[in-house]
């Protein structure tokens, strides 16, 4: 212990001495800049190292690059002796974090130097040539043992799959390991499976923890045992992600050798050689082929169960009374995806009332991959006598034999005695006479009493009253309103039809009068002509005479009507004899007036209806 301490103190003293001597031994001043790595994924950071050597050299000002965030994370000094001359150099470590994907050029930080190029790929893009595989996180690398290291070996994530070929729906046990170097990394959340083509059972918040040495370094390995299942066929590359907080070197590997030699994270922290960063470590991809379940030979009641199962059946009691409920049970045991294990059991059975079964699962391992699923189905026998319940069947796909299997249970014998209620009711009453129609519709005898019909499953919606709806005022309002609506509509339509009929009748009368007027005009009988015309005007539709007066009052063009009436008076009282042309003119005038009136009436009727 003391020897190690003396060595460390000596090493530190040597370094201090070199720092003190460096200014005196400085030679040609230079500025150099390097960027590592030159290709990163978005969300990662690159490291820009600006090294100045020689006397009187200052660090250049950091360039401003759109889309890149640069900030100084540390500084270090080094003294080299070349051919007896001491060269002191100072390095400034700058973290370069891109804000977007793309290619960025960082202007030369040294005079007359070329710009540094940084390629930033979107997250999840394939690894570009020249970039080390597994460098999804700063300092990531993959070892020969199939473990992908993250953050310079501070952590790793590993997915262990026992099978490479599985079927859709098949549950496969998997192990997920997350290795953490003590003091360098800690988990932030539970690991997750990448992609939506698989389902992963819930992981425990208290995984198994075992110390293990990987590549000669000590790790605390957190291990989760879980089950993964594929939801669709195809070839997949399965990876697991684990969000971690890691401590990342801020100096190149070679510069941190001393700290590594010190081997103490606390010492590294003191020397400012690392920073903490949240990363997502991913496992090496595991290739997995998911096969589709064959369509050939698929049983009709296959529910999607994949695995190896056995079934058994029993009943709550081998003897019961008619109408008493019994419980038929089916036990499905084995290994597989029990969430897809389902059965309708006995759906239809003569002389039995069957009800939908309920199921419960009891796992016998921590993963829920092995266990027993019990289906319980209530049954009620409606007839007394010996009964045999048929054997139950359950179909599943066995991935080991690559075919569908159907397991059967043995038939069950049950003896049903007459209903206790029958005995109770009949205890106070003599047996029903032979030939009396039985409740079941058959012939009842003292020896073969059919008993009560079994209970019903109460699934109907209830009602607040036993009174039929059509006798309830609330419901009666509906047909009453409907009847009123139709009655109102019927009355309205009937009135409109009546108006139309009246108008048609009036039109017929006027046409007849006009015909008579024409006959009188041809005969030169002025008295008859004007008498008929006056009659038509006084009795016509809506009384054309009145309408003419109204229109005349409004200043309309019905002066002709008034003139015609005046002429009629002259004919009657002064014996005036109109000419043939005047007869024709007055006939046309009256015909036109009547037609307009009829049209007006028809229009007003249409509006009112």
């Amino acid at each position: 212990m003391s020897t190690t301490f003396i060595k460390r103190v000596g090493l530190l003293a040597s370094i201090t001495a070199f720092f003190m001597m460096a200014p005196a031994m400085a030679i040609t001043p230079t500025v150099d800049a390097t960027l590592e790595p030159s290709q990163i994924a978005l969300g990662e950071s690159a490291q820009l190292t600006i090294t100045t050597s020689g006397k009187g050299t200052d660090f250049p000002k950091l360039p401003q690059v759109a889309g890149l965030e640069l900030h100084i994370v540390g500084q270090s000094q080094r003294i080299q002796i070349i051919n007896g001359a001491a060269l002191a150099s100072t390095s400034m470590i700058v973290s370069v974090t891109p804000q977007t994907a793309g290619i960025f050029a960082i202007p030369g930080v040294a005079p007359n130097s070329q710009p540094l190029v940084l390629r930033v790929t979107p997250p999840g893009s394939p690894v570009l040539p020249g970039k080390s595989p597994g460098s999804g996180t700063p300092g990531a690398s993959s070892g020969a043992n199939g473990i992908r290291m993250a953050a310079d070996g501070a952590a790793f994530v590993r997915l262990i799959l026992p099978k490479r070929d599985i079927y859709v729906g098949e549950s496969v046990p998997v192990d997920i390991e997350v290795g953490l170097r003590d003091g360098f990394a800690r988990p932030n959340a539970l690991p997750t499976l990448v992609g939506s083509d698989f389902t992963l059972n819930n992981l425990s918040h208290q995984p198994e923890q075992t110390p293990r040495a990987v590549d000669g370094k000590p790790y605390m390995v957190l291990m989760w045992h879980s089950v993964v299942a594929a939801v669709k066929p195809g070839k997949f590359s399965l990876t697991v992600e684990a969000p971690l907080t890691v401590r990342i070197r801020t100096r190149p590997q070679r510069d941190s050798m001393i700290e590594d030699m010190l081997g103490d994270p606390f010492m590294q922290n003191i020397f400012g050689a690392s920073i903490t960063k949240d990363i997502t470590a991913t496992s090496m991809p595991s290739e997995l082929t998911v096969l589709e379940l064959p369509a050939e030979g698929r049983p009709p009641y296959f529910s999607g169960a994949v695995g190896s199962f056995k079934i058994g059946g029993d009943i709550s009691s081998n003897t019961a009374a008619a109408g008493d409920p019994l419980t038929l049970r089916m036990h499905v045991t084995g290994t597989g995806n029990f969430d897809r294990v389902d059965s309708a059991m006995l759906e239809h059975l003569d002389q039995w009332k069957t009800y939908p079964p309920k199921s419960s699962f009891k796992a016998t391992d921590a993963l829920g991959l092995k266990g027993e699923k019990i289906f319980e189905q209530p049954l009620i026998a409606s007839k007394p006598g010996p009964h045999t319940l048929p054997g139950l069947a359950f179909s599943y796909f066995d991935p080991s034999t690559h075919r569908y299997e159907t397991a059967h249970s043995a038939p069950l014998n049950v003896t049903i005695s007459p209903s206790l209620a029958d005995s109770s009711l009949n205890a106070n009453a003599p047996p029903l006479p032979a030939g009396t129609p039985s409740p079941g519709g058959g012939s009842a005898t003292a020896s073969s009493n059919p008993g009560l019909q079994p209970d019903h499953v109460a699934i109907e919606t209830g009602t607040s009253t036993l009174v039929p709806p059509y006798l309830q005022p609330r419901f009666l309002a509906i047909p009453s309103l409907l009847a009123l609506t139709f009655a109102g509509g019927w009355l309205g339509l009937r009135r409109r039809a009546s108006d139309r009929s009246t108008a048609r009748s009036a039109a017929r009368d006027i046409n007849r009068i006009l015909d008579d007027m024409e006959t009188a005009a041809r005969a030169g009988d002025a008295a008859s002509f004007f008498t008929l015309a006056r009659t038509a005007l006084e009795t016509g539709p809506r009384s054309e005479l009145e309408a003419g007066r109204l229109e005349a009052d409004r200043g309309g063009d019905s002066d002709d009507i008034r003139r015609f009436l005046a002429l009629a008076d002259e004919v009657n009282y002064a014996g005036l004899q109109p000419t043939r042309e005047e007869f024709a003119r007055w006939t046309d005038l009256l015909r036109g007036a009547f037609q307009r009136t009829l049209q007006r009436d028809a229009h007003s009727n249409g509006k009112s209806s």
Binding site: G441, A458, F486, A497
Partner: protein, 221 residues
Amino acid sequence: MKSRAPIAWLIVGLLCLVCRTQAAAAEERGYSASALYNSANAYARAGKPGLAVLNYERARLLAPDDSDVDANLRFVRASSHVPAEPRRWFDPLVTIARPAVVAWLGAAGVVMMGAGLLAGFLAPRRRRTRRAAIVVGAALVAFTVGNGMVLWPKLHEAVILTAATPARASPAPMGDPLFVLPEAETVRITAEHDDFVLVRTRTGRTGWVSRANLAAVVPPR
């Protein structure tokens, strides 16, 4: 267009009323045919034929088409020495469908009749279709009315719940007993007075029975 607005409002109002009726029916969950039937079975098994018959009768009001109810009712009555209800020619009118269905059929009948009458003015040429709609609508309404007429007496019936229930000459505890009614007997209520109801048996005998000894098939609200 202006004259059609009241009709549109009326239709909207009717739809609201229908929705309200349905919603109210869905909210009020009191009686269920299956629940009443199962209760009746339980009473029958427990040796209480009066309560069994009462619940069967109530279940039959809601589900007259349920043959199990009818079968068990007759079985319990026969076991209790109560004469079975005589079968009448119009009984199928009641048992063919549940009252809730019959009610909506009646409403549909009103619609068909009204539409048929109105169509006479709007589409006078389709005379046969109109007449068929009116006839079918009238038949549906008649079916509903008939259903109601058959069920109406049931709404005023009661079931004797206790064995050897005395029917008295007057509505008083000390009234002279006229005859004795067996448990599970179904009687018709014709009058009420305080704690007594005047009942009429199927054989036509009448007497006052204490309310404590019977229960109405349709309980008063």
